[in-house]
Symmetry: C2
Subunit: 219 residues, 2 copies
């Protein structure tokens, strides 16, 4: 099925292609980027690209899997209670210095709304997994200390995720006005949860963001 098992040295080219695809998908979404652009960016011809990935769709899925799995893997390794939320906050906090990832997921997830979109199932599954994990986390936390106003754990989980998505959209539209991370912390406090603050790594600030010279990564 997969045209290339990652043997030999070609795997290096594969990685270069995936990186390029990620960058361009993040800039302009899936539909409006051509495999030729991606190929050029990876210093290869567009059919050289198609040799490694049979189609544009396959390439997208590969990009999503690669970029998501490193983050989401920790979820499967049985994180509990507040750890899950703190992990999420950490990821979101770091996203400030990776607008590409935010852009990729914002743009492609909305395209993937269409049931025929190649990434539709990917995102449906992703949200299901996230909601489930966060839901269990809230359930645990609410047992120890119930929220000021009653709310179902799964409901809280969906709100938490929706909030993150919506804030990131607003942040991309006007980066200087929105602070996703801070907002999420406030939201959790409203539910009686006080997560440990994510340590601020200075190198996450003042990072020049490729392709977005006017976007300041400092929140």
């Amino acid at each position: 099925m997969t045209p290339k098992p990652p043997t030999r040295k070609g795997g290096l080219t594969r990685a270069r292609i995936v990186d390029s695809a990620f960058e361009l998908f993040a800039e302009s979404g899936f539909t409006s980027v051509s495999i030729r652009e991606i190929a050029a960016h990876a210093h290869i011809s567009h059919v050289g690209l198609l040799h490694h990935f049979g189609s544009k769709d396959e390439l997208l899925l590969e990009v999503l899997r690669r970029r998501d799995s490193s983050d989401i893997a920790e979820l499967r390794d049985g994180a509990h209670g507040i750890e899950v939320l703190e992990w999420a906050l950490h990821v979101i906090h770091d996203n400030v210095s990776r607008p590409g990832i935010v852009s990729l997921f914002v743009k492609v997830s909305s395209e993937a709304t269409d049931p025929d979109h190649p990434a539709h199932e990917f995102f449906a599954n992703r949200y299901a997994l996230l909601a489930e994990s966060a839901g269990r986390a809230f359930a645990e936390l609410f047992e120890d200390s119930p929220p000021p106003i009653a709310i179902e754990p799964l409901e809280a989980a969906r709100q938490f995720i929706a909030l993150a998505d919506g804030l990131q959209l607003q942040w991309m539209l006007s980066p200087h006005r929105v602070t996703t991370y801070d907002s999420l912390v406030v939201f959790l406090r409203t539910l009686g949860i006080t997560p440990r603050p994510v340590p601020s790594f200075p190198e996450h600030r003042l990072v020049a963001v490729a392709g977005h010279p006017e976007r300041t990564p400092i929140q």
Copy 2:
């Protein structure tokens, strides 16, 4: 500048075009729909379309203005306090029977993240206006009865909007699992606000949704 002032009878064709464009943009976003498709849907040639709207970009802006203004106009007419939030809930409640509108705004707003996108300013302004209005509403409400956990009105406003966006995205990905309206009511209760429930119009249920036969508008 605008190639046609809405004089004479051609305004009828214009309307037909805008409707078609709306429908198709809602289905597949802006970038991946061609003016030829829109023109065909409006029973006109694609250059006939271009006679009324000088370019694809102009058409998009017209669609957005037309679809948003009817809803948002009430905002400008000085709505106060909880009225604003109840108006928002009403719109969102009705959106269940209009997946096209939700889809249009979800898809195009994420595309418009790109500063060069023809609708970038439109959405930036829209969110600014919404946040301001909702912010004033929360400010009023919090004066009468402060929220259980302290939160700035503008912060609450941004969260409210972000939540609505994020939930609608989730709803489009798996319609049967998410109930945007209910979630928002829960969120408001968390802030100590209890809006009057939106009356359920039976005709909003069981409406066949064009192009989404598997999507049930019943929440």
